[in-house]
């Protein structure tokens, strides 16, 4: 078994995320994004690598989209309506609601402003979205008989999800973009401790470690405030959803506190409509908002109004949110052209801009002139503020997630090659997990382990429960990374609550060792160990052609085979010369000899059971008897003596008492000296009293 992972996009780059994973005969496409930096065929993933004939329906089991950003969903209408994929598509409720807004916004920019030939139409978008099956968080969806998927909260933007997929015993998570720290309106990523063969994670900030978010927010507010106080205009190029809401909550709140009345505008149609969605999807925001929205809905912005084109050159300060982000064209570019030449104005740029956009040019150094095309030049004199907070996790967050999930393998996507290389190095050296960062159109093969399903008999199961109980229990499934990323708290399990426990003397304790869980390759969550590891369970696995293998207890095996146990014994019959046998043991000679021997043995050897009988001694399976049968078959020729001072000991034992037997036989061989010693002791004792 192996997982085959074909990276169609976001391999050693950011943009057009698309990974096709083959797992247990199923093929899943994670994300179907477009690259904002290209206008030619490179903007879409190379779908022909999935199927040369274009028969995507039979080659793909399903498509799963993690969130509404265009680098994750931008190519979807093209793939379904133009390339003709008709199979199931999954995304969360917010993504299904918001992705069409993003797509339509982008399509308009492309077609109306750049005058480009459209790749897909509005109808394509709507037709495509109609087929989407919405997902709720943690809902376990059975895509077909074998494939199970589940979405986990990823932070990042409203509705962003990390996707868990399972086929048979093979499991993986594809993170999409995620954020490990909560922001103004979203919570931090949350996931169960899953047992994973593969984790595919984004790595946008593979080497960045960020400090407090609070300071960075203040820096932004200060820059904006300073600009409007000086009568300047602030342009905030954003996409319709996500960053816009985050910054707007921040500004609206700040305006309220500072009692400012400079207008905040939204470019036409942008977030006024989007806020309607956000209000219905409040369940996907941060806990703080969820707790308070019935009293105050933070998406009811008090200071925000919509923008008219005529206001571009109106006098006085203002703040404007305009699409698209990264100033890749459209309205934000139009406003930029007007506002950039004045040093009073301010342009804020997101933390990340795709290569090829104006945003990217502004970020790399401080250009004073931007050439749009041969005839259009913009003089840039305005101030530029780069937002240093981003809805992506930083390197620490990535490492925390990997450490928490502790997968067998890691693949990095959605990052820059040199940074990915250095993070890969860290993951391999610090966590010891094999890590890869394939380029676009490369395939990585991941070996997986698979459990074997067997039957077990009741008797075997009971024999397991007879040993002491030991339980490992994770904290109820979810750990919030922002506070404590690896907390596992043990919970006691009541003996009466365990399965089939009537016969146990339960010795309960719980372990907090998380590696216990990952090493043992147990699926997540709550695990009860039914026998302590000191006491390994033993049984016999019976395998027969075309039947499920079966675990039975040893006793049952014989019954099953209808066979009788074959006992193997070792036996020796050997002489021991006793120098003064006659003089001190006239009558019950044998009996006394055995008793003496017993005393000696019990003080020199360790065994579970020892008892002296009239004619033999029993030490575990070892039986020692004085043999008077001269034809005893176990007497070998060379030790056939015939002397009154010699007695024969007949010993027999089982294999597992081999060590015990060899020790005892040595003592028996030296019985002569033992007896003499004990005689001496008996003689000396009275003398001591006399003195």
């Amino acid at each position: 078994m192996a997982i085959e992972c074909l990276v169609l996009g976001a391999g050693q780059e950011v943009g057009k995320s698309c990974v096709v994973v083959s797992i247990g005969g199923k093929k899943i496409m994670f994300d179907c994004g477009m690259h904002m930096g290209y206008l030619d065929s490179r903007r879409y993933p190379d779908f022909s690598l999935i199927s040369e004939t274009g028969d995507f329906d039979s080659s793909l089991t399903c498509v799963v989209i993690t969130h509404f950003h265009l680098d994750h969903v931008g190519a979807l209408p093209y793939f379904t309506e133009v390339c003709g994929y008709h199979g199931p598509i999954y995304m969360t409720y917010p993504t299904k609601a918001l992705a069409p807004i993003m797509l339509e916004d982008y399509r308009k920019v492309m077609v109306e402003r750049r005058g480009e030939e459209e790749q897909f139409s509005y109808d394509h978008i709507m037709e495509c979205m109609r087929k989407v099956i919405p997902l709720d968080l943690k809902q376990t969806v059975q895509v077909d008989k074998d494939l199970q998927i589940r979405a986990y909260y990823a932070g990042h933007v409203l509705g962003a999800a990390m996707i868990y997929a399972k086929v048979g015993g093979s499991t993986m998570v594809y993170t999409g973009d995620y954020n490990m720290t909560p922001d103004r309106h979203l919570g931090a990523a949350q996931i169960d401790r899953l047992r994973l063969d593969l984790l595919i994670t984004e790595s946008t900030y593979a080497t960045t470690i960020r400090d407090s978010k609070y300071a960075r927010e203040r820096e932004f507010l200060k820059a904006v405030h300073k600009c409007v106080a000086g009568g300047g205009k602030v342009l905030i190029p954003t996409f319709a959803l996500g960053r816009a809401q985050e910054l707007c909550i921040l500004l609206d709140d700040y305006w309220e506190r500072m009692n400012l009345n400079v207008p905040i505008y939204f470019s036409a149609g942008l977030t006024i409509q989007a806020n309607m969605y956000y209000k219905m999807l409040i369940g996907w925001t941060s806990q703080k908002i969820k707790d308070n929205y019935t009293k105050h809905n933070p998406f009811d912005f008090k200071h925000v109004c919509s923008f008219e084109r005529s206001l571009i050159n109106a006098p006085g300060p203002c703040v404007l949110f305009a699409t698209p982000g990264m100033i890749s064209g459209g309205f934000s570019l139009e406003v930029f052209k007007h506002w950039a030449p004045s040093e009073k104005n301010l342009i804020t740029l997101p933390g990340y801009c795709v290569a090829g956009t104006i945003g990217h040019k502004l970020m790399s150094g401080k250009p004073t002139r931007i050439d749009l095309d041969a005839d259009t030049h913009i003089d840039v004199r305005c101030q530029i503020h780069q937002l240093s907070f981003s809805p992506h996790t930083d390197a620490k967050g990535i490492m925390d997630l990997i450490d928490f999930l502790f997968p067998q393998h890691v693949i990095l996507v959605h990052g820059e090659k040199p940074k990915m290389a250095s993070l890969t190095e860290r993951i391999q050296s610090e966590l010891g997990i094999p890590c890869y960062y394939p380029a676009n159109n490369e395939t990585v093969l991941i070996p997986t382990s698979q459990n074997v399903k067997v039957d077990a008999t009741g008797q075997f199961m009971r024999s397991c429960h007879n040993v002491n109980l030991n339980s490992i229990q994770d904290k109820p499934c979810i750990s919030n990374f922002s506070t404590n990323n690896c907390e596992v708290s043990g919970t006691k399990i009541d003996a009466s609550k365990m399965v089939i426990t009537s016969c146990c003397n339960a010795n309960l304790h719980s372990t907090q060792d998380k590696h216990c869980i990952s090493n043992a390759s147990i699926s997540n969550c709550e695990v009860s160990e039914l026998a302590g590891d000191e006491n390994l369970t033993e049984g016999i696995l019976v395998m027969e052609k075309s039947k499920t293998a079966k675990v039975v207890s040893k006793d049952e095996l014989l019954q099953m085979l209808g066979a009788e146990k074959h006992v193997v014994q070792f036996a020796r019959c050997f002489p021991v010369r006793l120098s003064n046998r006659e003089q001190f043991l006239p009558h019950a000679a044998n009996h006394t000899t055995l008793q003496l021997l017993c005393k000696k043995l019990s003080s020199h050897v360790k065994c579970k059971y020892i008892e002296s009988f009239s004619d033999h001694l029993q030490l575990d399976s070892l039986r020692i008897r004085i043999c008077s049968n001269e034809d005893c078959p176990f007497r070998t020729n060379q030790n056939k003596y015939c002397s009154s001072s010699v007695i024969y000991f007949c010993c027999s034992w089982s294999m597992h008492d081999e060590n015990l037997a060899s020790k005892c036989l040595e003592i028996v061989n030296n019985l002569d000296s033992t007896i003499q010693d004990s005689n001496l002791a008996q003689e000396e004792a009275p003398n001591e009293h006399l003195q």
Binding site: M276, M280, S528, V568
Partner: protein, 666 residues
């Protein structure tokens, strides 16, 4: 596994059935409702005008939990599973017991709405507290004294005591807001189809039942059994997500707990319809069943009822009467609001709609933010960017006014009659409905709308000289009987646990592909296990450690297995121990007999020379091999035993090894 049905309930939404399930040594309580119809024995808080409470108990009410509940030690429960908001109203009584340590499982929305309903109950109860003063918490109230009970009319006494006095112990003094809060903290909120595992042994999953927003059926699976716990379900709803029966297919057992038709009159509707045609088990047939089950007709029927109600409302309003709607079902209430406002628009009536309840505002705003839990049509509204329910718009337009209390200044300012008031509580004993009934009960133009489930005669006792019109409406509250058989066919269980009370009424064919067991109230039903043996997952690394050995005869191979047995997410898992497996012959288990000739060969391979003795020693089924090199020794063997004798330990070990190689063993 054992099942004890604690109560059948009343066949309605407000008092669902309640069971205890014993599974894999764990005890699970299914539902924890209150019998709120029982508070009809108490007189409402007297208003300024003289009232006619008659025989009713004039005391702050106690609340009646499900029968036999008090006999159940809460510390013995491992989990409580709750399917609908009404089914959790009795939880604080359990949870306030210091010995209660079970986890409570409910969907996120059931928990939220149930919590709001409890808050509302507490708020309404405070009307009594204000009137009577705070009740002392100790001892039984005076009305429970025998001589007081004897004075009650028989129908009231039966409500208090049950027919044989067995229900007297079910009464409890009301819980407090703090107890509700504490109880809610013990709830584990779930999404639909979210997997949750408790104690490693049992996995729970909720699927929508269609009854109410957030209500659910459950899949409960243990290592040896998978159970569908089927509560009252509705295929298509105008508000909640519909009945998700696909996800319940293929479980071993169905606990059929939809008793909604217990009291309904359409018991024996068209029994022939479901006996024919003969059912086949192919896909065509499955499609056919699905079509017959999940058509939209039920929903259309409900809409017809709502439309009829609307026309009655319009008539009353036109006649100058007001309309009072104390309906307790949230989904229906939300739908009614939409239809009423449309009906008002259509008839050009400008009449205000009020909603007077402590939790109404929060409930309404909550329902507009849970698209994941609603029917397809309302989810579509999310994708179009429209509000999920119409009430947001109504509030914005000022057509609907929401207030926590009557006699609030703002309410009085907005008040005008005739009007429409949504007002709790359906028992007509507390909540704003009491004052409004006092105001309107003698107005023959006014209209009161009740659910069928409410015993109207009893409920209206304190409002004598009733002139106002009463419209009682039976809304769908579960599966229709004729759909039960086809549904079961579709779900393909091996066994169905079915309520004995429904047996005479339900057109069920026995002798099909699944068996029936019938349960009755307060009888512990033992359910046999259908799976033989246990299913265990063998971890890969342990499988690789195995050293299988082929048996001398037959095609069987066996291997010794040593590992740790774990119970994880409802599955047994065998993994290798931390210490490496010790491989030695010491524990070797041998069986069968040994062929001396083969043993001689095996000895030779190990450099040992021996010969079979055929002297007189060989008797009684024994044979001997005399070993001569490298050391002298003897092997004595019979069908069930072999004795090896040799002075040299190394040689004996070699002989043993040779023996193992020619004998079946492990």
């Amino acid at each position: 596994m054992k099942l004890t049905c604690l109560s059948h309930g009343r066949g309605g939404v407000h008092r669902p059935p309640c069971h205890v399930l014993e599974l894999s040594g764990l005890r699970i309580l299914l539902e924890c409702p209150l019998d709120l119809s029982a508070i009809a024995i108490f007189a409402p808080v007297p208003s300024s005008s003289p009232s006619s409470s008659g025989d009713l108990v004039a005391a702050p009410p106690w609340y009646k939990a499900v029968a036999a509940h008090h006999l159940f030690d809460p510390c013995l429960l491992d989990a409580v599973v709750v399917s609908s908001p009404a089914a959790m109203l009795g939880l604080p009584f359990l949870a306030r017991n210091p010995n209660f340590s079970a986890k409570i499982y409910a969907t996120e929305v059931t928990a939220r709405i149930g919590g709001l309903m409890m808050e509302e109950l507490v708020a309404m109860h405070s009307e009594f507290v204000r009137y009577y003063g705070l009740e002392k918490r100790q001892g039984r109230p005076d009305w429970m004294k025998w001589e007081e009970l004897e004075r009650l009319p028989i129908e009231l006494r039966n409500v208090v005591m049950g027919e044989e006095g067995e229900e007297l112990g079910c009464w409890m003094p009301q819980y407090s807001a703090a107890e509700v809060k504490e109880c809610m903290q013990k709830v584990v909120p779930l999404k639909y189809a979210e997997e949750v595992c408790f104690n490693g042994a049992i996995i729970l999953k909720a699927f929508s039942s269609g009854l109410e927003i957030g209500s659910s059926n459950w899949m409960i699976s243990s290592p040896r059994r998978s159970i569908t716990y089927l509560s009252s379900s509705i295929f298509e709803s105008g508000h909640a997500m519909g009945f998700d029966y696909h996800s319940l297919q293929g479980n071993d057992l169905i606990l059929f707990s939809d008793l909604s038709s217990m009291n309904s009159t359409d018991y024996d509707t068209k029994p022939d319809e479901c006996n024919s045609p003969p059912l086949r088990t192919d896909n065509d047939n499955e499609d056919h069943i699905i079509k017959s089950l999940s058509g939209n007709d039920e929903n259309l029927e409900e809409i017809e009822k709502i439309s009829f109600i609307c026309s009655c409302i319009v008539d009353s309003l036109k006649a100058g009467g007001s309309v009072l709607i104390p309906i307790g079902r949230l989904g229906i209430l939300l739908q009614l609001l939409e239809y009423i406002s449309r009906a008002l628009d259509n008839s050009n009536l400008k009449v205000p709609i009020f909603m007077v309840s402590a939790t109404a505002e929060e409930t309404l705003s909550f329902t507009n933010a849970i698209p994941e839990w609603l029917c397809k049509e309302r989810q579509e509204k999310l994708f179009l960017g429209e509000a999920l329910f119409g009430h947001a718009e109504l509030i914005k337009e000022g057509k609907l006014c929401v207030f926590p209390l009557l006699y609030e200044r703002e309410l009085l300012m907005a008040w005008q009659e005739p009007c429409i008031v949504f007002s709790p509580h359906w028992s007509l004993r507390f909540g704003s409905v009491v004052q409004l009934l006092n105001r309107w009960h003698s107005d023959h133009n006014s209209l009161l709308i009740l659910e069928q489930e409410v015993d109207a005669e009893m409920a209206l006792l304190p409002f004598k000289t009733l002139a106002m019109k009463v419209l009682q409406c039976s809304f769908l509250s579960g599966l229709k009987m004729q759909k039960v058989q086809p549904l079961l066919e579709l779900l393909r269980p091996k066994l169905v646990l079915f309520p004995e009370v429904l047996r005479p009424h339900c057109p069920i064919k026995e002798g099909g592909s699944f068996a029936f067991l019938y349960y009755s109230e307060n009888v512990r039903l033992r359910v046999p296990n259908s799976r033989k043996g246990f299913e265990v997952q063998l971890a890969t690394e342990l499988a690789f450690q195995l050293e299988p050995r082929r048996l001398l005869e037959g095609s069987m191979a066996i291997a010794r297995l040593q590992g740790r047995l774990l119970l994880s997410k409802g599955k047994y898992l065998l993994v290798s121990g931390k210490k490496p497996l010790k491989q030695s012959n010491e524990q070797m288990l041998l069986w069968g007999s040994v062929d001396p000739a083969r043993l001689i060969l095996a000895l030779e391979e190990r450099g040992i020379v021996g010969s079979i003795c055929d002297d007189d020693k060989a008797a009684d089924g024994y044979w001997f091999i005399q070993v001569s090199k490298p050391e002298e020794g003897l092997i004595k063997s019979s069908a069930s035993e072999t004795v090896i004798s040799c002075d040299d330990e190394r040689t004996s070990a070699l002989i043993f090894e040779a023996l193992c190689s020619v004998c079946d063993g492990i």
